[in-house]
Structures are given as structure tokens and as C-alpha cells.
């Protein structure tokens, strides 16, 4: 009571009804509303939106199937199953190459009805394969459609990228990919990919079996 500042005669007189002035004056202020479905304001750059599985510049996947993200997940929303991969095509008894590493993520699923968008998976990822986008419009009318699979999570192919499987760029090792020495798919990779195209349109579906957990 004692700290209340003493106004003049008129401010004392109208103090009990000052709120009316506030609400009246607010009517003439500019409206800050985002007219959502028509106008979408960008989120903060660091906003935790939908995940994305990144690629190396030649199109190979960064994910090495280590499952660290799945282990870090507090909500058990991530399911990863790794598999070996090598440069030998399927027709010659190998597996084909999806990531520069020894292994790759054969199955990768994120259940968006469990995921709390905390970002611990991003922190856990040793290859920066998993990052988050700013995309947030995820509502759907059934639970099954909100389990996102590897195909949905993988980043789209940019120019210079080549859809795996294909061997590593010639003369490069796994570590060279992280040193930034690979900048785009080489002609040899392109040639390999063309040769084995028929073989892998089939095998690409086999890699995503076990979708229905």
C-alpha cells in the first residue's frame, strides 16, 4: 500500500475505471495475429521439427546404423536396424554400398507419436546423419501413418548426388568423406549405378522389409 505512487487529482478520480481505457485503446492497436493456414511465419532456425537423414555429397547415406540415436531416445521412438554393406553388388554375392562405413541403417523408423522432439538423438549421432528440420505440420488421422520410415526421412537427392547403392568415390576411404574431400558423384559411380540399375530397383524394396513392426 505504501509503495503505491500518488497520481494527480484526475488520475485518482479515474483510477478505478482505467481498465476501460486500456481495453478501448487496444481496439485501435495493430493486430499481431498470424493468419495461420494462409500465412505461415518461419520458425526459429533452431526449431526442433521433423527429422531428416542426411547424405554425403555423392548420395551415399551418412547413417552408419550404429543405433546410438535409438539408445539416446528417452521415449523409445526410434527403431534402427543396421546391416553390413560392401562394394560388391548383390549379383556377385555382396550387399551393395549404401554408406561409406562398414555398416548402414537398413531399417530406420521414427514414431512421431512417441517422439518428443528433444533432440537427444541429434546430439548422439556421431556422423551428423540425423538432423532436424523446421517442418512441423505432422497431424494425421491414424497412428500407422505417423511412424515415419527411412524413405520418408531421407533427404532428397540434390544435384550431383546419386541414389545408392553405389561404391565409394574411387580412391577415397571412409575418412575422406568426413574430411570433405568428396564433393559430388564421380563418373565411375554413375557408370556403376547405370550398370546395376535393374538389379537394385528390386533390392531397394528388400531393404525396407519389416516396416510393420
Amino acid at each position: 500500500m505504501a509503495e503505491e505512487q500518488k497520481g494527480g487529482f484526475f488520475s485518482d478520480l479515474f483510477a478505478p475505471v482505467a481498465g476501460f481505457g486500456v481495453s478501448f485503446a487496444t481496439m485501435f492497436r495493430k493486430i499481431p495475429t498470424e493468419e495461420y493456414p494462409e500465412v505461415k511465419w518461419p520458425t526459429a532456425p533452431r526449431y526442433h521439427g521433423r527429422h531428416q537423414l542426411n547424405r554425403h555429397p555423392d548420395g551415399l547415406e551418412k547413417c552408419v546404423g550404429c543405433e546410438l540415436c535409438a539408445w539416446a531416445c528417452p521415449a523409445d521412438a526410434i527403431f534402427v536396424e543396421g546391416a553390413d554393406n560392401d562394394d560388391t553388388p548383390v549379383s556377385e554375392g555382396g550387399t551393395g554400398r549404401y554408406s561409406p562405413g562398414e555398416r548402414f541403417g537398413r531399417i530406420y523408423q521414427i514414431n512421431y507419436l512417441r517422439c518428443i522432439f528433444c533432440g537427444l538423438c541429434i546430439e548422439a549421432c556421431p556422423t551428423r546423419a540425423l538432423t532436424m528440420t523446421n517442418f512441423y505440420e505432422l497431424a494425421d488421422d491414424n497412428r500407422a501413418d505417423l511412424i515415419f520410415t527411412k524413405e520418408q526421412l531421407l533427404a532428397p537427392l540434390q544435384s550431383g548426388m546419386l541414389a545408392p547403392p553405389h561404391p565409394m568415390a574411387e580412391g577415397m576411404e571412409e575418412r575422406d568423406y568426413y574430411l570433405g574431400k568428396v564433393t559430388k558423384a564421380t563418373d565411375a559411380q554413375q557408370q556403376w549405378s547405370d550398370e546395376h540399375a535393374a538389379e537394385y530397383t528390386v533390392s531397394s524394396t528388400t531393404t525396407s522389409e519389416g516396416e510393420t513392426r
Partner: protein, 475 residues
């Protein structure tokens, strides 16, 4: 303090009001040239007028409240969201009409019908405009007029309270019952103050017929000589219509949705409609009683020998004035939170009713002096003849007001001093002095307990001693 200060100019204007200004008998509305079929047409037009107004006012309310809260409000249904109310109504129509198993089937349906129809009835006696030519007949823009028209509004409001209490009772559920009782108590309590506030107007106009009251305000609106009545009426009309800040019957926190908790679909829509029509009714009555009804406001009534002050123009002025009250309702809702129920009732019974009673007595004396009941001698001030008795009455009233003000100020000062004294916190506190552990107030120091285990101290009860108090040592 502020209300009393505003009294001063008000009294001055009463002094300036010569007795001759209000003729003892002003003409009533003339219905001699109004056949029955024309009355039916007028009733239909009135109904349409009110429905259209309701359609607009709900949209208006939501938009204006939106703007008061710095947001746009409904703007997606139709242009500017104008179709919003229509869609609300349609949706209610298409919704399942739930009737609880425990409900009384007949009364459950009757209650909303009663509420909605009663809301329309009061409008029959409201003069919407001057005399106009309607289908070749000279007829006033008013459905009907009675010599006790103003009382009809109060009576109808009383009947509408049945719609509320029956809804509460017939729902067969606890919350509606409590909400209905609350709402009825509220409506009845505030109707007393409302009726008393109108008595001052009746005293000034010498009539209860709405058309006569409007006609008597041709030169001076009663908001000036009966300002206190106007303030009381505005407060009570909010209480009467169950609107924020007096919408205690619908307090979500304690009563879910009050008397219409169990209502859905079209039955609920009727309550929704009735509530807004009620707002229009009380606004229209306020316009009629205090703001000169359909008469043009000041600059316009002087133009063209009263051209804007007659006929259809009256409808425009009336609508504008009524909508000013509607805006006030919305403004209240955008500004004030809900009051507490006991405070609300105390305000009505302890302040509004006795205050209005005193005010009505004062008006009676002023009026009596004006009409020459207290002596005929008069004095000329600034060229106007003013009865001496009027001046004496007003002088006595002013003195009485000043005395009351002085007493009140003294009492408030005493109370403040007492509060300041009570608020003085002693520097030290014995946490167990009263037998219960008491935390220290800010700025207070705890007195260290002398020994452990706790020994009986002054004022400590035996139970404290029995239980070993480890907290004491820690404190």
C-alpha cells in the same frame, strides 16, 4: 469519492430545471388509426428486427472483444466473418438434442421456450420511433402502449426468471439446479434496485407509459436530472442479464455452465438467443427511460424544425442509442473479470437498494418543490424563475451528502490506521507461541528455542510438549 464529486454539476442542472418545462400531462401515443392486422404486421417486423440485430450483435461482440484483446476475432465464416452467428445457429440446429434421463421432459422443453419468448415480449411497449405512415395508416412505431408499460418490462423479466429456475430444476442434475437458483436470486435481487431506479423517472415524467416518458424527454433527457438512477439502472441491467461481470450463474469454475449445463442443440440455442434479446430489451428500456428514446440527439433536433426528430428518423436514433448500450456491454465483458457471489449480493442489497431508496426520496422532494407543493415563492436566477423550496431542498441534500462524505472519510481513515497498525510486524516471533508452528513473516526473526527437547513455554499447549519437536531445534 468519485461518484460524489460528479454529483455537483448534476444538482446544478436540476436547479436550472424550471417546473414549467415538464407539462403535467404529455400526450400518449395515438393508436386510434391502427387496425389489428397492422399490429400483427408490426409485431412481425419487430420480431425480424430483433432477430437481425441478434445476428449482428453476436458477431459484433466477438469481433470487438477480439479487437480489445488485440486479435481479429471470427473472420473466416463469410466476409469479415459476418456469417459466424448464422453458422452458430445452424450448427445448434443440426446438433443432437440431449435430454437427460433424470430430466422432467415437459418442463425441460418448456423452460427455454419461456425464456426466449419472454425476452421478445418486453419489446412490445418500446417506442422505436415517431408516428409514421404504414400501409396508409398513421401509426406510431410502437406495438402497443399501456399506462403501466414500464412495469410490464419488470413483470416479464420476472416471468423469464421462471425459464431459468425451471431449466435448473427440470434438468435433474446438481449444477444446473445450483446455477438456476443463483441466477434467479440474482435476477430478483437486482430487479428491486432496477425498479427503484426507474421510480425517479416516473416521478419526473408523471407517467409509466413509455410513449409519455419519451415525449416528456423532448427537451431534457432524464439522464441529467436522474443521473444516479441511470448509474444504478446500468449496473442492475448487467446483473439482470447475467452478463460479465455479473455472470455468476455460469461460473465455469464452480458451476460448469450454470442452469443450461444440460442443454444442447436447439434448446440451448434458444437460451443463447434469449440472452441477447434480453440485452437488447434492457438497453432499449435504458434508451427509453434515460436517453430520450427515439428523439434525436442535440445538434440534430434543432435542424429543420425538428425534421430529424420525427417519423422514421426516430428508428435510426433509437437504434444508435440502443447499440451504444450494446457496445457498453461488450466493453464491460472485454474489461472486467467476474465478481464474487457474496460481494455481488452484498453490493446489491447493502448499497444499491438502500442508496436508491434514499435517492428516490430526494427526487420526491425535488419534484415536490418544483411542482409547488412546498410553497409558491420563487426567485429569479439568471432570468429563470426557480422556486425557493427547490433551492432549500437541494441545499439540505447537499449538506446531507457532505456530512455523509465526511463521516465516511473519517471512518476510512480510522480503518486505514488500524490496518497499518495491524500490519506492523514485531521483529521477533516465537514459532510455537500459539501451540502451532508459525512461519515467520518477511523481515521477521525467529526466536531461538532455548532447550531441546522442547519444554513448555508460555502459551504452549500440552500437545506440543508431548510430541518431540525436532523442527524446533532446526529452526
Amino acid at each position: 469519492m468519485s461518484t460524489l464529486l460528479t454529483l455537483a454539476p448534476e444538482f446544478a442542472s436540476v436547479v436550472a430545471l424550471p417546473a414549467a418545462d415538464v407539462p403535467p400531462s404529455v400526450p400518449r401515443a395515438d393508436f386510434s388509426d391502427t387496425p389489428i392486422w397492422l399490429s400483427a404486421v408490426k409485431a412481425l417486423l419487430l420480431f425480424v428486427f430483433l432477430l437481425l440485430n441478434t445476428l449482428v450483435v453476436i458477431w459484433f461482440e466477438r469481433r470487438v472483444i477480439g479487437r480489445m484483446q488485440n486479435r481479429p476475432g471470427p473472420n473466416r465464416a463469410g466476409p469479415f466473418g459476418l456469417m459466424q452467428t448464422l453458422f452458430d445457429g445452424l450448427k445448434s440446429l443440426f446438433k443432437e438434442d440431449v435430454k437427460p434421463a433424470a430430466a422432467d421432459a415437459f418442463l425441460f422443453t418448456l423452460a427455454p421456450i419461456l425464456f426466449a419468448t419472454m425476452a421478445f415480449v418486453s419489446f412490445a411497449i418500446i417506442p422505436l420511433g415517431g408516428t409514421v405512415n404504414l400501409f396508409g395508416h398513421q401509426t406510431p412505431l410502437q406495438l402497443t402502449d399501456l399506462s403501466v408499460a414500464a412495469l410490464l418490462v419488470l413483470a416479464v423479466a420476472g416471468v423469464a426468471a421462471y425459464g431459468v429456475i425451471l431449466a435448473g430444476w427440470s434438468s435433474g442434475s446438481t449444477y444446473p439446479l445450483l446455477g438456476g437458483l443463483r441466477s434467479t436470486a440474482q435476477v430478483i435481487s437486482y430487479e428491486i434496485a432496477m425498479g427503484l431506479a426507474l421510480v425517479a423517472v416516473f416521478l419526473y415524467s408523471g407517467s409509466m407509459s413509455t410513449s409519455q416518458i419519451v415525449e416528456a424527454q423532448r427537451n431534457l433527457w432524464y439522464i441529467v436530472p436522474a443521473f444516479i438512477s441511470f448509474v444504478v439502472y446500468v449496473i442492475t441491467m448487467v446483473g439482470e442479464t447475467n452478463r460479465i461481470p455479473f455472470d455468476l450463474a455460469e461460473g465455469e469454475g464452480e458451476l460448469v455452465a450454470g442452469y443450461h449445463t444440460e442443454y444442447s442443440g436447439f434448446r440451448f440455442a434458444m437460451y443463447y438467443l434469449g440472452e441477447y434479446i434480453n440485452m437488447f430489451t434492457v438497453s432499449a428500456l435504458a434508451t427509453t427511460m434515460f436517453l430520450g428514446g427515439w428523439h434525436a440527439p442535440l445538434p440534430f433536433n434543432l435542424i429543420g424544425d425538428g425534421y430529424f426528430d420525427s417519423g422514421w428518423w426516430g428508428l435510426l436514433w433509437f437504434t444508435i442509442k440502443m447499440w451504444l448500450f450494446m457496445f457498453f456491454f461488450v466493453w464491460l465483458r472485454g474489461t472486467l473479470p467476474r465478481t464474487r457471489y457474496d460481494q455481488f449480493m452484498a453490493f446489491g442489497w447493502k448499497l444499491l437498494i438502500p442508496g436508491t431508496l434514499l435517492w428516490v426520496m430526494a427526487v420526491a422532494f425535488i419534484r415536490g418543490a418544483q411542482l409547488g407543493f412546498l410553497g409558491d415563492s420563487s426567485i429569479a436566477i439568471a432570468g429563470r424563475e426557480i422556486p425557493i423550496a427547490t433551492l432549500i431542498v437541494i441545499g439540505v441534500l447537499l449538506v446531507a451528502v457532505l456530512v455523509v462524505l465526511w463521516l465516511w472519510e473519517t471512518k476510512m481513515t480510522e480503518r486505514e490506521e488500524a490496518a497499518a497498525k495491524a500490519a506492523d510486524v514485531p521483529e521477533e516471533i516465537d514459532p510455537y507461541a500459539g501451540g502451532y508452528p508459525v512461519p515467520p513473516l518477511p523481515g521477521q526473526r525467529l526466536r531461538e528455542p532455548s532447550t531441546y527437547p522442547a519444554l513448555p513455554r508460555a502459551g504452549a499447549t500440552a500437545t506440543v510438549v508431548d510430541t518431540p519437536t525436532v523442527e524446533n531445534k532446526e529452526a
